[in-house]
């Protein structure tokens, strides 16, 4: 590898993660990647590198998969287990309106593999599994090629694993279950994967984008990372913006960017927007006015009952019906249940039926048990699937309360066909 010293990119400049992405859609080659970033700092031995863990802790990086857990703390938990660890790159992006992780894997796979190598050094791992949705063929091919290109320079065993294209398959215990030869369904915890995961080894399951940040933090340091974002939520983040905007797609934002600015980046709304779904299908509906005056930061979203979650945002047009669309999402999420836990299997089905009934606008009454069901279902599954679905439905009933009242009286203002995708697209 070239040992020539690279200039450090300007700390405040964006994009960082997407800086190398080629306009022709081809994946960045290893030569191009090294030319831009230079090689990773050499790994110090086979044992966990606690100095590296400390570096990540100092960066304040939080996981970009949805839970926003401090990455340094997770690395430390795995590194402290005292046994040979395993690293899993979580590229199972089951969220239908998110494509940021597949974009990274497809266009700059070496950045992600670098991040996996950094994580492996930090926790003392030799085996790295790269889990990617089976139907994300572009991402899969790019990762396979990138691993071959590296020709074992990392002295790691990289294995690519195709993950069934189901919503829950990306949940970390579901991935561990799959890698242990089981179905891609969540398992009851504890033990958590960091205690006992793949082949009973302490296992670090880390989101694709989070690892890409590690690749940059290891090279340029925590202060560089913190030059954008806020003190508590530092760095840049990839956000998928879909819906009624002129240029939907994946954007790299400084955390804390006003949603209004992101809309402007995307060419503004195509039609008037009534609401935003923030955080993907486990996320929260926010009415347009409060949403547009907030910024993309958990600290700002939390008072509105929302969070960045999976970092996918859908701009919902005024002429569509939020109740009808949420009913479709509730049905999708009920069908995507792993069908293992009664409250999720039976409860989400009942919730979806109640909403479908309401959406048809011929019910003349709201299901009186619905509020109690929503209260009772959350928190009673082995994973967070029911909690996420409940959050979505609850926020819809709040934000689309007027539309809801119309439905009860037998009318609906919505027009047009289905908007929010309920199956992950193929051929990504």
């Amino acid at each position: 590898m070239a040992a020539r010293r690279r200039p450090v990119p300007a700390p405040g400049a964006l994009p960082r993660l997407l800086a190398a992405v080629r306009s022709d859609g081809q994946a960045v080659s290893l030569a191009e990647h090294l030319h831009r970033h230079g090689p990773l700092p050499a790994r110090r031995g086979r044992e966990p590198d606690l100095a590296l863990v400390q570096l990540v802790e100092a960066s304040g990086l939080r996981g970009r998969g949805g839970a926003s857990f401090p990455t340094g703390r997770k690395l430390r938990a795995v590194a402290s287990a005292g046994r040979r660890a395993v690293v899993v790159v979580n590229g199972a992006e089951g969220e239908p309106i998110s494509s940021k992780d597949h974009v990274l894997l497809a266009y700059d796979p070496h950045l992600v593999l670098d991040g996996a190598a950094v994580a492996a050094a930090a926790v003392g791992a030799r085996d790295v599994f790269v889990a990617v949705n089976a139907d994300a063929s572009t991402a899969l091919t790019a990762v396979e090629r990138a691993i071959a290109e590296r020709a074992n320079a990392d002295r790691l065993s990289f294995r690519v694993v195709a993950v069934p294209d189901r919503f829950v398959a990306g949940e970390e215990t579901a991935l561990v279950n799959l890698l242990n030869g089981g179905p891609a369904k969540p398992i009851f915890t504890p033990p958590r994967p960091y205690e006992r995961g793949v082949r009973d080894a302490p296992t670090l399951v880390q989101n694709t984008e989070t690892l890409a940040h590690l690749a940059l933090i290891a090279r340029y340091g925590p202060d560089w990372f913190r030059a954008v974002g806020t003190r508590d939520e530092p760095g840049s983040a990839l956000v998928t913006l879909k819906g009624a905007v002129h240029r939907p797609g994946v954007y790299e934002i400084p955390l804390g960017l006003p949603l209004r600015d992101l809309l402007a980046w995307a060419g503004g709304p195509r039609t008037p927007i009534s609401a935003y779904l923030i955080g993907g299908y486990f996320g929260t509906w926010l009415a347009a006015a409060p949403a547009e005056s907030t910024s993309l930061l958990d600290a700002d979203l939390r008072p509105n009952g929302a969070s960045l979650g999976a970092r996918a945002i859908f701009a919902f047009p005024e002429n569509a019906c939020g109740i009808t669309e949420t009913a479709r999402l509730a049905r999708y999420l009920a069908d995507e249940s792993a069908r293992q836990c009664g409250p999720c299997l039976r409860g989400l089905d009942a919730v979806a039926k109640a909403l479908e009934h309401l959406a048809r606008a011929n019910t003349k009454h709201e299901e009186p048990r619905l509020p109690r069901w929503l209260d009772e279902i959350a928190g009673r599954g082995a994973c967070r699937h029911p909690d996420g679905a409940v959050r979505l439905v609850r926020s819809a009933l709040h934000v689309f309360a007027d539309e809801c009242a119309l439905h009860v009286r037998g009318s609906c203002t919505g027009s047009g066909g289905p908007l929010l995708p309920t199956r992950a697209r193929t051929g990504r």
Binding site: I187, F188, T189, P190, R192, Q340, C341, G342, P343, C344, R346, G347, A350, R369, W373, E376, I377, R380, G381, A382
Partner: protein, 85 residues
């Protein structure tokens, strides 16, 4: 300590609610809703009987954690139960 159900193992037989109404009720589909309050020393014997009576061995006593971290099953018994399945 509090009572915890493994929702994957639970088949909704409902014995727990019948035997331990102080801490367990059933939802509309027959699955247990566990009162998160601690199992007081007076209730502990009672709780253990319910744990033993569950046909799918889905119940266990778990230590209460003050933070949001998931509770850890208490003692070797809980761990052994999970491994049997």
């Amino acid at each position: 300590m509090r009572l915890r159900v493994n929702p994957i193992a639970c088949d909704g037989h409902g014995l727990c609610a019948e035997l331990f109404p102080e801490r367990v009720t059933l939802d509309d589909w027959g699955y247990p809703i566990i009162d998160p309050h601690p199992i007081t020393p007076e209730l502990q014997e009672h709780a253990r009987r319910v744990i033993d009576a569950c046909p799918t061995l889905a119940l266990a006593l778990a230590l209460i954690h003050n933070d949001s971290a998931p509770a850890v099953p208490h003692g070797p018994r809980a761990v052994q139960l999970r491994r049997q399945r």
